[in-house]
Symmetry: C2
Subunit: 178 residues, 2 copies
Amino acid sequence: MTKHNFPLSEVYSLLEPGPVIMISTSHKGKTNVMPMSWQTMIDFEPPLVGLIISNMNHTFGMLKATKECVINIPTANIAKKVVACGNVSGRKVDKFKKFGLTKAPASKVKVPLVDECYANLECKVVDSKLATKYNLFVVKVVKAWIDPKVKNPKIFHHNGHGKFTVGGKSMKIHFRLK
Amino acid sequence: MTKHNFPLSEVYSLLEPGPVIMISTSHKGKTNVMPMSWQTMIDFEPPLVGLIISNMNHTFGMLKATKECVINIPTANIAKKVVACGNVSGRKVDKFKKFGLTKAPASKVKVPLVDECYANLECKVVDSKLATKYNLFVVKVVKAWIDPKVKNPKIFHHNGHGKFTVGGKSMKIHFRLK
């Protein structure tokens, strides 16, 4: 995909709707990628994001060691690959290779973007003190990319037990108090 | 609405998809309610949830003072009321009254449930130490309610700038590594 720069001040609009995301990491020549949905915006600009990543996941150690990751936002057309990535550990498998995901170079971190995702957020860990108690990493988005051809991205949401909901009808609601 | 108990171990399946939620609070005989989307699951059971609430919001002070809230999950049919609640401060207006929302009694906290929401999670603040730095409140869900008549709740998601997406098509994806 050919991606354009996306303004950091608008990153919240990509993450606030609560999509399934994929975290890519890179350490000692090896890369990994895991899907997750336990994330929240923490601040607008610079965009701070909270990621809850279990210390049983390979990504936890990768993040601790390298302090870098990319948040990749997939659309429903690759949902099966995304779910597949969540059902095997990067300790055992090169998931990029196994599931045919393409690595694209990042600009500010040494971690590949997942090219098939319509948006990619390059991140630096700014606080991992809360990882011990809450598995919480606070990351700062330092560069954001978006595919300008994807107008209404069909992000999807996890409802537990392998059930997902794809984004449906859009609505605009502007409210002015009378 | 007549609501049933909902198992605490399944609460993640309500919050993980990233719906717009409404936080109700109660302090010194006054109640308040605000919509938000900056939240994440932190742990499964007991369910811990992280809420990012700006210290400029009336709810921030209510939570600090009382350590209690209810997370109410609305569906798209009341989206206009939900958005309206986000465009005025509880310091000035009784939002339950102004927007015709119904208070229903909670069982374990002194905060009303928003009856029009299909699910309600009674919460106690277990950690507000991170409220200063990150506006982060860690809350524990102590009781969960659900309307059993709502089979496929049309939760909705905020995409910024008054644009929302309603949950659309569902899909089941079960993956077994071959």
